[in-house]
Amino acid sequence: MLKLWKQTILAPVISSLLFMIVFGLSLGDSIAEIGGFEYRIFIVPGLIAMAMAQSAYSNNSSTIFQARNDRYLDDIIAAPMSARQVHLGYLAGGAMRSLIIGIVLTALALPLTGAPLERPLELLLAVLLTITGFGALGIIVGIYAQSWDNQSFINNIVILPLIFLGGVFYSVGRLGSPWEQISHLNPLFYVVEAMRYGFLGAADVSPWLSLGVVGAITIALVAWAQLLFSTGHRLKP
């Protein structure tokens, strides 16, 4: 599972750390506090959320697409495993890598920035929902994708911009109307908010609203992925 650790673990950890160092530590002093938190602390939860979500998504989408493309998925589909077991296996693989990234980043970011860990249980719930939801999204895209471009398109054109616009680097509450309200339509906003509440104990919206939205999206994505495995749609001609 960790054969490609440089690509799947080390690279996202380094890129997230660079964001923390460049935006937080280098520029942070020239930016005012947000919600009572220094800027270098404020951006930590969002950056960790972004790294974990992207990792869960891209690991699963590339794993499934590669297996379909090279047809070694046949060895798995032909085996005496139920659709649920296969689905769970892929979800667990992506989630585990993503979790390792989150743990490493948290272990490095807390002493580096001084960010607190105020609500560990809520954070754990937010993390599990995020990596499961994005892992399921990765599976769905990996199953539908017809080329490598398709799956990187979703990452670069959909997930990444929505996470940035979801308030990784700023508080959505500071945006004027109608941008604040529009931001609330962005599902990734709730991922960032749920993680921020877990770390800082404060967020722009209620943590239960964030966890509820992330939970509902995760359930829908997991159900969709399960349906694809159960029916064999696009997996079996």
């Binding site: 054969k3 490609l4 590669q66 297996a67 090279d70 047809r71 070694y72 046949d74 060895d75 798995i76 589909i77 032909a78 085996a79 005496p80 495993m81 139920s82 029916t231 064999g232 079996k236 001609p237």
Partner: protein
């Protein structure tokens, strides 16, 4: 003992409208060495895919040693070596076999032990820690076969196992497959090499346009068509398309 494979009324129409299998019936006795011959596009690979749960069938029933084809018990009894090497390019020979054992419910130590056995059986020891893309074509064939047999299946399906391999390896694979059959394993072999089918198989079925158009021993097929070689039978039946079908009906 129930047949190794029983197929009744199997049909498969692909999304583009192609009818790959049409109301196909086939029964393969347990312990037999069965050959399936037919031209490209006749439905051989679709038939194998249906048996191995790799395609969604349009209709029909499949059972494996009396177990429903879609069930876990049936899947556990089947081993397949597909025509094109379909190996995970990030895994070594050993890991490919180890993972496969896991898919079939083997515990870690059991899968590891079995993987080492198969590595020795297929002379892959020197390549044990080499990843699939770095293997030669012949080595990949060996690995495919080792993987198909790792979980000790009772029905082994070999889809053109000797396509593109040199004569020496072909004979080596023949020896291994024969040995497997002698131990009681049922073999379903598809091949384009008619001499291979004749040399190995107890019984041969000819498939054309998604239907079995003839079935007998090699000698029986030659006798019923009044010819001297299996190649002539093949040309008269499946290779001739619609005309050959008409001729076959006349013979029948």
């Amino acid at each position: 003992m129930p047949p190794a494979l029983s197929i009744k009324g199997l049909s498969k129409r692909y999304g583009d409208g192609t009818l790959a299998l049409e109301d196909l019936d086939l029964e393969i006795p347990a312990g037999s060495f069965f050959g399936l011959l037919g031209p490209n596009g006749a439905g051989k690979t679709t038939l194998i895919g249906a048996v191995c749960n790799l395609i969604r069938v349009t209709g029909g029933e499949i059972s494996v040693f009396g177990q429903p084809g879609t069930g876990m018990a049936a899947r556990r009894m089947i081993g397949i070596a597909e025509q094109e090497p379909n190996l995970d390019k990030f895994l070594t020979v050993y890991e490919t076999l180890l993972y496969h054992g896991g898919y079939y419910g083997m515990r870690g130590a059991e899968a590891a032990e079995r993987a080492e056995q198969m590595i020795d059986a297929f002379d892959l020891r020197a390549k044990r820690d080499v990843e699939a893309p770095k293997l030669s074509g012949g080595m990949r064939r060996r690995l495919l076969l080792a993987r198909a047999l790792l979980h000790r299946p009772r029905l082994v399906i070999l889809d053109e196992p000797t396509a593109g391999v040199d004569l020496e390896l072909r004979h080596e694979l023949w020896r291994y497959i024969r040995g497997l059959h002698e131990q009681g394993t049922t073999i379903l072999l598809t091949t384009h090499y008619l001499e291979e089918a004749e040399a190995l198989c107890d019984e041969i079925a000819l498939i054309s346009r998604g239907r079995i158009v003839a079935r007998d021993t090699a000698e029986g097929l030659k006798r019923s068509h009044g010819v001297d070689t299996l190649e002539e039978v093949y040309l008269r039946t499946v290779a001739g398309g619609r005309i050959a079908m008409d001729q076959l009906e006349e013979v029948e």
